[in-house]
Amino acid sequence: MLKFLKQVSDYTKEAVQAAKYIGQGLSVTFDHMQRRPITVQYPYEKLIPSERFRGRIHFEFDKCIACEVCVRVCPINLPVVDWEFNKETKKKKLNHYSIDFGVCIFCGNCVEYCPTNCLSMTEEYELSTYDRHELNYDNVALGRLPYKVTQDPMVTPLRELGYLPQGVLEPHDLPAGSRRAGKLPEEILEEMEASKS
């Protein structure tokens, strides 16, 4: 009899506990309802890409020495370097340079290894086209600089999570002049130099 009663009381306790947990869960979801949506409404609002963002590759034609290092370090030998040897100056002359961004994986190896720094990463990521051949950028298209999100009057720029003040998880309605958590890289550098001297 006592054992049965204990079973009943245990069962009731378990049921009450389950109900308590569901109640806790409900309070969590209810609490979420009064938070501001973190939605970035894309064409009107855009996140500011971080400084290490690996977007479309920028190419400076005049700096290129046609060494083809970019082709060698590329996982799929993607960049097409069209050059001819100029016998008078005994130098390679670059005719055309192109990268097909339909195939590029944006690994950044070419940028890393380019001896003259003529390749660089931009923050452009809006590459959609109706025809995949349009993604094959020639040296003119590669030389264009993307329009900055922060300078576009049609777009509200929003900061990414790592660039928000401490404790803030949401980029909307930030007070003006609020800075990211921790020190900026240039501040760290300054401190290091100050401590050195």
């Binding site: 869960g25 409900l26 979801t29 979420h32 949506p37 973190i38």
Partner: protein, 372 residues
Amino acid sequence: MNPGIDLQGSFIQILTDFGLSAGAAKVLWLPLPMLLMLISATVGVLVTTWLERKISAAAQQRIGPEFAGPLGTLIPVADGLKLLVKEDIIPAKADPWLFTLGPTLVVVPVFLSYLIVPFGQNLLVTDLSIGIFLWIALSSIAPIGLLMSGYASNNKYALLGGLRAAAQSISYELPLALSVLAVVMMSNSLSTVDIVNQQAGYGILGWNVWRQPLGFLIFWIAALAECERLPFDLPEAEEELVAGYQTEYAGMKFALFYLGSYVNLVLSALLFAVLYLGGWSFPIPVEAIAAWLNISETTPWLQVVTGTLGIVMTVFKAYLLVFLAILLRWTVPRVRIDQLLDLGWKFLLPVSLVNLLLTAALKLAFPVAFGG
């Protein structure tokens, strides 16, 4: 008790004054409340789908529909129109008759159940003396339709979904009926109007929630299971069964299923409000306020206000419950089929039986508080 506004009586009175026979006047009256109920049920579904999207979005810190009409209110209309003009596909090896009959059999009983939902003393289609019983009887037709459409689709997912739907409906019908029975026992009537009137008088304190704390929980869980809403949406569990019995459906037939499930949700919420939350009654009894303000109960404008307040209160309570159902959807994970049946047969059924016996005992012990 003051009868309040009697629209039917006045309508028939006016027509008989014009020289029609009482019978003809009644025939003219009959389609009006039915049509009104049909339209309001459909509009209720549109509102519920919009709420579902918006509340889901809010619970997940999204915005939800925003550009279709103000606050995205035209989204349900867009949904409906899209489904209306979509191609109606019957799979090649499906049974066309059962396949077509299935969704109809799911939707019609749900709409039929709106017959007994009261929005006021005389604001319902019919005050049946077996109202609640009719609802329970009608709600057990739906699983036949689900099973039928699942079987006729000639698809393994649809068949499994249909079987699950049938198993689930049958196992949760019992605790649902038993918890309703406890309420019925307290109000000595199966009629929805009597059940509400029995709760009236003490305002919010007189509602059945306080007298049936177990009953209303069981009813709500069972009602969610009957509506196949999360956490009990196993028949449509998309991770396991694609969409269950709806898998092969498209266009208007799918829309019927969709409509049926949401109408059922609103209906359950309405009946929950009627059974446990005092139906159309205001938290503070309107009669008491009127007496306190020295206004006679038969004042015409007061009666109009009372009637409107009744409709508003019923709908408000129902939508509060719909809100709770949607919030639950994003809180509770889906149960497994064995857990579902365990919960139904091993927990809800005995608990609801105990609840029924307890109510009976309390009714014998304290006939004043528990409806002698």
